[in-house]
Symmetry: C2
């Protein structure tokens, strides 16, 4: 027979365990009752997100999707963080050109470097994607991935936006941070699928978006494995491997993820094929495009922009296909997170 003391001790353990459990239950209920998307105004965009998540997570429903297949892909520039007046990666590349110019006297007369070094960014980028790739490749080649990672980390820690003066890592969209968290809380795996450089994003996406390096898909250059002083290194070659834009996005998704997303969010013509690919899978799907229509709180641009072009054809496609167009002006209560002091 149990002693009184032992019975008392057991009761204490039981009560403690019960409290722990009760607390866990309470927290869950409170979270569910709270609005998981507080920076989104009530409206079609927010509703389409909430409806979609409810459908695919409801067991037994015809639209139910098992956790393993809950893949959501997000463009980065203009979708998760701002992209005006220039893709932020270009700020980085321009600084690298200046830093490396002394070692490259030929850049003084060779485009797009000559224009860049004269401060004429517009002329330098007149060559379009080819010029951008050339700049990016030239400023990375020969470095090991660890060296490059360190340079990006050092730079991103202090790099500020030329207009707002805020850290670039604070020029991210608060409603998107909430959407990422909401999807993950509902069993989704969130991926970045961006035209930006994969090695440029990976050093900071986990901290800023909660997206780990292995869930980042992007454009990339070729790598070479070699031994330097008896230590293995991966060296960045001045040769393009993959452009993760337009038709490249579904291909990048297949190569890296190997499953079709059930949700995809973009903001430009470069994202159309990713959304088509997502929708083509059938069943409940969420396709969304961020429309930059808020000149006061962010930037207003569309078809005319050569950074993050949102063409009239894309808008027509969105309407025809039933994709959700997010108006930053109307759908977002807040654009950026509060400044860190």
């Amino acid at each position: 027979m149990k002693s009184h003391l032992r019975r008392h001790a057991e009761r204490v353990v039981h009560i403690t365990a019960a409290l722990v459990c009760a607390l866990a239950f309470t927290t869950t209920i409170t979270q569910a009752a709270d609005d998981p998307l507080p920076s989104w105004n009530d409206g079609k965009a927010k509703q389409s997100i909430v409806d979609f998540v409810a459908k695919v997570t409801k067991e037994g429903s015809p639209d139910f999707v098992p956790v393993a297949a809950r893949i959501a892909t997000f463009d980065n520039d203009g979708t998760l963080w701002a992209e005006q007046p220039l893709y932020f990666q270009l700020f980085f590349a321009l600084e690298r050109v200046k830093a490396l110019a002394p070692q490259h006297p030929e850049w003084q007369t060779k485009e797009p470097f000559a224009s860049l070094l004269k401060g004429d960014v517009k002329a330098a980028l007149a060559g379009g994607e080819r010029a951008i790739v050339e700049i990016v490749m030239a400023t990375q080649a020969g470095m090991t991935i660890e060296e490059f990672d360190k340079i990006v980390q050092d730079w991103i820690a202090t790099a500020k936006h030329p207009k707002t003066g805020r850290l670039l890592t604070e020029m991210v969209y608060q409603p998107m941070l909430e959407l990422l968290g909401y999807l993950r809380a509902n069993g989704f795996k969130t991926f970045i699928v961006s035209g930006g450089g994969i090695e440029f994003m990976r050093p900071w996406t986990e901290k800023v978006y909660g997206i780990p390096p292995e869930q980042v898909v992007g454009s990339s250059g070729k790598l070479k494995f070699e031994m330097r002083d008896g230590k293995p290194v991966l060296v960045k070659l001045p040769e393009l491997d993959f452009i993760d834009d337009k038709v490249g996005k579904p291909i990048g998704i297949q190569q890296h993820i190997g499953r079709r997303p059930i949700a995809a969010v973009g903001n430009s013509d470069g994202d159309q094929q990713m959304l088509e690919w997502t929708q083509g899978g059938g069943g409940a799907r969420l396709m969304m495009l961020v429309h930059h229509d808020d000149a006061v709180r962010e930037f207003a641009y569309g078809a005319e922009s050569h950074i993050g072009t949102f063409s009239d054809a894309l808008m027509a496609e969105a309407k025809k296909s039933g994709w959700t167009v997010i108006s930053m002006k109307d759908d977002w209560k807040t654009i950026f997170p509060p400044e860190k002091k």
Copy 2:
């Protein structure tokens, strides 16, 4: 003041919650006490695994590795499943050549297809890696990834080993299934990094190894995005994109995962660079090579084999670098899991 009934009901709830909690605690304790690697004989190999996991998971220890960085990469052929008398993917490719031969009259006289169709596999593969790639590419080109996925799934559901008569998916190593599970239970993310075709592995790795498609890295062909009857498809092109073998393994790891593994397991010369890359990261690292030295229960082969070659140079490298060589004969109590009825 609470009624007696309500107090009674609350006590029932508390006791139930306490029981649930107590049960959860008990299960955890039981699991920890049990041997997580029952198919491994006590010895250096098993000890090196257990020691390594203890070190990197012990908070506050100098070797502690946060969960996010606990990346483990496994070769597939000869490491997770058998590879004799031929890489299993070749059984698949040979069947595809036969199935597709009527549409390719030119194969009757063109190598390596002509030899294959005559049943002379050895002559067909005399061309080495190039011949293998040619066969694999030719039997996949033009198909959409969904069509290919379906063909692989149908085939793997019934494909049997020519010697043992067992399903190929049962020709997996029981000790490795336990190792994968043990690492995952300790917060590791487990990846396959194989010279095999990425699209050939993805349809079944989750079911067989618990490794989802997005954690499979392999060799791949180029893809093309296009519209077929108004639906987006990804078509396999007859063009090699990436060979995930030898120096390709660290490159594939960097491209897909973007972090350096802290544990890597292979079995052949094709895995040397993956192990070097893993070890090069510094800190506690686990590098292991499976040695096929059990002619009775599996196959015995090494330097002389042209499938899964384990050269004398690799054995010397393993000794020099302190890599763990797993003797299938001595270190494994069981080789294959029990047959499913």
